[in-house]
């Protein structure tokens, strides 16, 4: 490999979406030296930019529903999270969203308003409409505003790298190493605090609304460093994501709002079927809709591309009402509104993640996490529109506390050996890849298929045990990967690094889901269909010990016992 670049920084932030940008900005306000590392071009990648519309915040007198309150939002969160969200984190979250809306407005985000009041949308699970929005591209505008702020700060260094390992010494985090995808050069960062803000792991599944880079890097970095992950069996699916055409695969199709306007869901034989599973048929809740559609797909009555149909032809003024989604589909060659869409449930949000406390501290000193990368705020399910404000609120907290930590500690020099070993590990993938036989992308597709079929919307003890066996077989295949040898923008190399991590994440998810013999929120066990609060109102923790996955349980933090 080429040269190793070495830098020293106070706070290293990994991930440049909303959570990472907020962490970097907030840390930089404390005058410390900040390095923000993003895998792909900052502002043009990650999951925030595809966060389409809603940003939940209780706006009080500034909003259109002054009768809403942090307490009511809190109750909604507890309920939607099926009692699994940590309430100390929710207490912080429900109070601080409003301020972030105003901060973003100062940075140039133009929120939609009715007169001078912040307009808001209502999504399922909300007692009041509280989803603020900016046109139909809230996430994109937030991302751009944050990047503009970052560019104004002289104490934030932005690098485009793929972080492959966190460095630890004496049980604390002391930095990270990474790869420059452009030219294969190696980077060593020595840092006093590290914030993980790498988003979710949608790409563990065949169908997902998350973009290409959502491969759960942060979960793997934390896991490999020995930090604890929490609730990794909880994966939220959106019932209607496009499976065709290829280039639109994973795009979310509005179902909850179009069904009352006449949209219908039909199987591959062009028959309506939703009533077979739940009496509310197409109008049922998000999780039940996912289960119904998944079961129908499993029954074999599928469309040519493996989904079911959604017929939106009788929805009046479809293209005007839904300028982002349906117009976009038309743009890509679909004959709307007449052509039937092919849809299937797609992974929408990784509910679990790095375990944090109210300071966004992970279980290893020096490590912080925020946004989707963190795990224990929402619980077993998530209210739509709560993801973007989670990034802002906890990104700020992580950045602030990561910066404060730097005031009290002396930087520790990472072990040369640990850095050298990681460099050799990456390089050896290329060397061994010359003689290997199986392409990493093929292993990845196999994993995505099996995760979708066996660890997805519907789980049983048998499907999960089968998944674990298959994943272990796939892990063996990673020893025989075929990779071409260029160090320049080598996607096979990146796939090879990622698939090794993704296989661990897949196995962690399957093992935690197998152990949890109940159904709760987004985790649905067909063989244990009831929620069992007596035995299972508790978090699962998973971490690496002696090379193996360990699982234990941890009580949910409750601040208001009366809420359940």
């Amino acid at each position: 490999m080429k040269s190793t670049q070495e830098i020293k920084t106070d706070v290293l932030v990994i991930g440049g979406g909303a959570a990472g940008c907020w962490a970097a900005l907030t840390a930089s306000l404390r005058g410390v030296d900040v390095t923000l590392i993003n895998k792909y071009p900052l502002g043009k990648s990650g999951t925030t930019i595809v966060g389409m519309i809603t940003y939940n915040a209780v706006m009080g007198e500034l909003g259109v529903h002054p009768e809403d309150s942090p307490d009511i939002y809190f109750q909604d969160l507890v309920k939607e999270g099926a009692l699994l969200g940590d309430q100390d984190l929710m207490e912080i979250f429900v109070r601080r969203g409003r301020e972030t809306v105003l901060q973003l407005e100062k940075m140039g985000v133009r929120w939609d308003k009715v007169g001078d009041k912040f307009d808001a949308r209502r999504l399922p699970g909300m007692s009041y409409p509280r989803g603020c929005f900016s046109d139909h591209r809230t996430g994109l505008f937030i991302q751009r505003a944050l990047v503009r702020e970052i560019q104004k700060r002289s104490n934030i260094r932005v690098l485009e790298r793929k972080v492959t390992k966190l460095l630890t010494k004496d049980g604390q985090i002391v930095g990270a190493v990474g790869l420059h995808i452009h030219d294969g050069s190696f980077l060593k960062v020595m840092a006093k605090s590290v914030v993980i803000a790498t988003g979710g792991a949608g790409r563990l599944f065949k169908i997902t609304s998350m973009p290409e880079d959502a491969r759960g890097d942060g979960y793997s970095l934390a896991y490999e460093a020995g930090a604890k992950l929490i609730d990794m069996e909880f994966h939220l699916f959106f019932p209607a994501t496009l499976v065709y055409p290829e280039t639109l695969r994973g795009l979310v199709v509005p179902r909850g709002t179009t069904v009352p306007l006449g949209a219908r869901i039909l199987n591959g034989r062009r028959e309506r079927f939703m009533h077979k599973y739940y009496p509310e048929a197409e109008l049922t809740t998000r999780d039940k809709a996912s289960i119904s559609i998944f079961k129908e797909i499993k029954s074999g009555a599928v469309t040519p591309h493996g989904g079911v149909y959604m017929d939106v032809s009788s929805v009046e003024n479809l293209l005007e009402k839904y300028p982002t989604s349906f117009k976009d589909f038309k743009d890509a060659g679909m004959n709307l509104p007449d052509e039937w869409l092919e849809i299937a449930p797609g992974l929408h949000f990784t509910l679990g993640g790095v375990q944090i406390n109210g300071f966004c501290e992970a279980s290893l000193p020096g490590l912080y996490a925020a946004g989707e990368a963190a795990g224990n705020m929402h619980g077993a399910n998530r209210i739509g529109g709560s993801a973007l404000p989670e990034c802002s609120v906890f990104g700020q907290i992580a950045g602030e506390n990561a910066a404060i930590r730097t005031q009290f500690i002396q930087p520790l020099e990472p072990d040369r050996k640990e850095v050298q070993e990681e460099r050799e590990r990456l390089r050896s993938l290329l060397d061994a890849g010359k003689n290997g036989h199986i392409r990493p992308v093929k292993i990845m597709r196999t994993l995505q298929e099996l995760m979708y079929d066996k660890v997805g919307v519907l789980r049983t003890g048998n499907s999960l045990r089968g998944a674990i066996t298959e994943i272990r077989e796939l892990k063996k295949k990673t020893k025989d990967m075929k990779i071409h040898s260029s160090e320049r923008y080598n996607n096979e190399w990146i796939d090879a690094i990622d698939i090794q991590n993704m296989l661990h994440l897949g196995e962690i998810a399957a093992q935690c889901a197998l152990a949890r013999e109940e159904s709760r929120g987004a985790h649905y066990r067909e063989d244990f269909p009831q929620q069992n609060d007596r035995s299972w109102k508790k978090h699962s923790l998973s971490w690496k010990e002696g090379g193996d996955i360990r699982i234990a349980y941890h009580p949910v933090t409750v601040t208001r016992p009366e809420e359940g």
Binding site: I49, M334, R488
Partner: protein, 117 residues
């Protein structure tokens, strides 16, 4: 589902290895509504893993990273149907890294982000 066999020509150049750029022809099955981006991804997955191009796409016309030069014009390839005989090159105006991969975060690009929408 109608599929048909098509050929596309793709720009190849590894500045560390090659003396000069070349074009490589690939033959693939075009499915209905296949975009140029889907075709490039198909080539990477099924035909040639050494082809370099961006590792991120949003598929929603927001990121711009699927930009490539298609028949001499910069286009967002996630929205352009692929056709027989197309010539696909790296987006012009950005430093070339390898093949279709360019440096989209190069300095001059930053100005674009500075503007309000």
């Amino acid at each position: 589902m109608s599929t048909k066999k098509i050929k596309v020509k793709i720009f190849r150049f590894d500045p560390e290895v090659d003396k000069q750029p070349s074009f490589q022809e690939y033959e693939l099955m075009k499915t209905e509504k296949m975009s140029v981006l889907s075709a490039v991804q198909y080539i990477y997955e099924k035909l040639d893993g050494s082809l370099s191009f961006s590792g991120y796409f949003c598929y929603r016309k927001l990121c711009g990273l699927c930009q490539m030069k298609v028949n001499k014009r910069n286009r967002l390839t996630c929205r352009i149907p692929v056709e027989d005989g197309m010539v696909i090159e790296p987006a012009s105006g950005y430093p070339l890294i390898k093949d279709l991969a360019v440096d989209f975060s190069a300095e001059k690009e930053k100005k674009e982000l500075g503007n309000e929408d």
